[in-house]
């Protein structure tokens, strides 16, 4: 390690060395200022609308607040109420099932698509864009399109009827199929997003590593299984963690397609926060619920870190 420029050297003050060091320090400072200026707009917006808002939500979670009258301090009462909230337990169960279903499938599909899109084929650019379209489509638009597919007389049932299969399921109106229906939609819209992450990681893997394994006589599958996959571990971790966080916070699709129904089978935690806060004017309680969700996500991320044990292998 070279000593960092600008750290104290043992040179005499006033010597050419220390002058150079001072100049370096100055350059470093002005460089830092320039850098911060560049990111200032972003930092300010994030700071105001994410960080400050989160701090204020934490403050609210210890208060009774109905939006119209000043917040009234209630200590831990909101958090105590959470423990007895039956709806919250249902919602927690739903999002855990939801995440357990969506995350593995979406990760596998994303990896598969990334490997495909990484092949040297004709029209590679077209395929990459085509996979990516669902993910830049507004979630409201895709939810409404899928509602048409899922209707009792929608396209899915029409196709099933052509295949002479039972075709009278109201996919979103049935407590046992509504959540899987939303899962399917989300897998379709988000896989491509994570495909891009894997694609970047695949292109980072040195060609020489793969070539070495081919020379050692490994088949394509063996190379993928024992060389590529272990090297992708950090990005798999990233995709699984981001995917889980996204799943725990599912809201748009629930709000548009089912409103948490039928029979609370698609009630998600964020949807519950929304109904408590805006429907019943319990903003303090809603905030407490949001922080409970934060705690759950935090613990899950820690567990995933343990399990996936990220080491960069090259």
């Amino acid at each position: 390690m070279n000593p960092l420029p600008g750290t104290q050297s043992n040179a005499q003050p006033g010597s050419a060395w220390s002058r150079a060091a001072a100049r370096l320090r100055k350059e470093k400072v002005s460089e830092a200022i320039t850098g911060y200026l560049f990111v200032a707009p972003f930092l300010l917006t994030i700071g105001t609308f994410v960080f400050l808002a989160a701090v204020y939500a934490l403050y609210l979670s210890f208060h009774k607040y109905d939006l119209f009258t000043p917040p009234e301090f209630v200590g831990l009462a909101n958090y105590r109420r959470l423990l007895a909230d039956r709806d919250l337990r249902i919602a927690l169960r739903n999002v855990v099932i939801y995440a357990a279903g969506v995350v593995p499938i979406q990760t596998a599909v994303a990896l598969f698509l990334a490997v495909l899109a990484n092949q040297r084929l004709k029209l590679r650019g077209f395929f990459r864009s085509a996979y990516y379209v669902p993910c830049i489509t507004s979630s409201v638009a895709s939810s409404i399109i899928f509602m048409w597919l899922y209707y009792k007389q929608g396209i899915i049932n029409y196709i099933l009827s052509l295949l002479r299969l039972p075709s009278d399921t109201d996919w979103l109106g049935n407590p046992s199929t509504a959540l899987p229906a939303i899962m399917t939609l989300v897998i379709w819209t988000t896989s491509a997003y994570f495909m891009v992450v894997f694609l970047a990681a695949l292109q980072d893997i040195p060609v020489s590593v793969c070539e070495a394994s081919r020379i050692d006589g490994a088949s394509t599958w063996q190379t993928f299984r024992h060389v590529t996959l272990p090297l992708l571990r950090p990005s798999i971790f990233l995709v699984v963690v981001l995917g889980t966080i996204g799943c725990m916070q599912v809201f748009d699709q629930v709000y548009i397609m089912t409103r948490g129904g039928p029979l609370k089978s698609t009630m998600s935690i964020v949807y519950l926060v929304y109904t408590e806060a805006f429907g019943d004017l319990k903003f303090g309680y809603g905030a407490a619920m949001a922080f409970a969700l934060f705690a759950v996500i935090f613990v899950l991320t820690l567990i995933q870190r343990r399990l996936l044990d990220i080491r960069i292998e090259y």
Partner: protein
């Protein structure tokens, strides 16, 4: 392109500034409602034109809100930047009144000589809190029984009359159901969705009260309440004569009726322009709801024009509310057949004689309860919806579903 837009924008801004300088003594009011049908928008625009002629010193900006009106208005009120005059639905009026978000209109009414007795008392009471008036009901609606004339004629069944009983409705719904074995052509007697608002009239007809005297205990689990839930759900569960809209590929009851997949549906006056615009060839009539074991019952929906407590020009805002809810304007709204007037003086308007459909919906008001469940209305409505859903989807028994619902409602009420 960008440059052009920029130039245009600057020009507009300069023009606006110039106009502002000229009309410095003009008062500007913002009026908001939810995004309604084009016809209804036109009615508001026409009313504002007349208002502008009467009060040239007041400029009204009409800014309808497209999505999720209640949420948006609540947040705007909290941020103290609400529109000056806006719609308030009776369903969520109470928390706004009890927390001082709305302006008490009584002193302003006194100044211009508008009396509370000019309006239907029951409707006005929905916007009254601690004896003060916080909104003037602009119009109202109840539920009527819409029936498809062609289907009745084909089945040789006489059209519904106000004398129908619960039994008649069930019999007729059974007779009008035609299952041909093709799910896209099957026809059902009636549409009974998972919707507490459509179920509420049957509770009244069965004689079930919502709350006891303390206001903390729900009485829907009484034998009368269970009877109503049993009746409402027996069409679909026992007779197979009812569907929910999604089963016939419809978005809501009115849509199912327009597509002629159901012979009867319970809707309000809003269905009349909807059918005329989208399903003009459907021949329909409207009748009062049938009589239940405890007599007649219905539910009424109403919306007020209210003024935000933070409004800077309350005098002018009141003039606008008064104009929009005034005799002339309500008369015009009624004559276009959109909604029912709230002014007592319009109750015997000749229009009702020539328009039996609107008259049937108007008559329901005499024995209707308001569509609201107080402070926690949203939650209570969801609980009631789920009691219907449990029966429809899980074949639960009505007495169990109702008892569970009331236990949950009592919990909500004691919060």
């Amino acid at each position: 392109m960008k440059r052009l837009a920029c130039v245009v924008l600057c020009a507009v801004l300069i023009a606006a500034l110039a106009a502002g300088a000229v009309a410095a003594d003009k008062v500007t009011l913002v009026l908001s409602g939810w995004q309604a049908s084009p016809e209804e928008q036109q009615l508001v625009a026409d009313a504002l034109k007349v208002f502008a002629q009467k009060h040239p010193n007041i400029e009204v900006k009409y800014e309808p809100i497209v999505e999720d009106f209640a949420t948006k208005i609540k947040t705007m009120l909290a941020a103290r930047n609400a529109p000056d005059v806006f719609y308030v639905d009776i369903f969520w009026a109470e928390p706004l009144m009890s927390r001082g978000m709305l302006l008490a209109l009584d002193p302003y009414m006194a100044k211009t000589g508008t009396k509370r007795s000019d309006f239907a008392e029951t409707l006005l009471n929905g916007f009254t809190y601690n004896g003060k008036t916080y909104g003037i009901p602009k119009d109202f609606n109840t539920l009527g029984l819409f029936y498809n004339k062609k289907m009745f004629d084909e089945a040789k069944i006489p059209y519904p009359t106000p004398d129908w009983t619960w039994e008649t409705l069930r019999e007729v719904a059974k007779k009008l159901t035609k299952i041909v074995g093709d799910p896209s052509k099957d026809r059902y007697g009636i549409c009974l969705p998972v919707d507490a608002a459509r179920f509420r009239p049957f509770l009244v007809q069965s004689g079930a009260q919502f709350l006891d005297k303390t206001g903390k205990k729900c009485l829907f689990a009484s034998p009368e309440g269970v009877r109503a839930l049993d009746y409402y759900t027996s069409f679909k569960m026992k007779d197979k004569s009812a569907v929910i809209p999604s089963e016939v590929g419809a978005g809501w009851g009115g849509d199912a009726f327009g597509k002629e997949r159901v012979a009867m549906v319970l809707e309000g006056g809003w269905l009349i322009p909807y059918l005329d615009n989208n399903f003009a060839n459907v021949e329909y009539g409207v009748c009062e709801l049938p009589k239940g074991p405890a007599g007649r019952g219905n539910v009424y929906f109403t919306v007020s024009y209210s003024v935000a407590a933070s409004c800077k020009h309350p005098e002018e805002a009141w003039l606008l509310v008064e104009h929009l809810t005034g005799y002339e304007n309500q008369k015009k709204v009624l004559e276009t057949g959109f909604a029912l007037p709230t002014r007592v003086a319009l109750g015997d308007h000749p229009f009702f004689k020539s328009n039996p459909n609107m008259a049937a919906i108007f008559k329901g008001y005499a024995y209707a309860v308001p569509w609201q469940f107080g402070e926690h209305g949203e939650k209570i409505m969801n609980v009631l919806n789920q009691s219907i859903e449990k029966i429809y989807l899980k074949n639960e028994q009505p007495d169990k579903a109702m008892n569970d619902a009331v236990r949950e409602i009592d919990g909500i009420l004691s919060e």
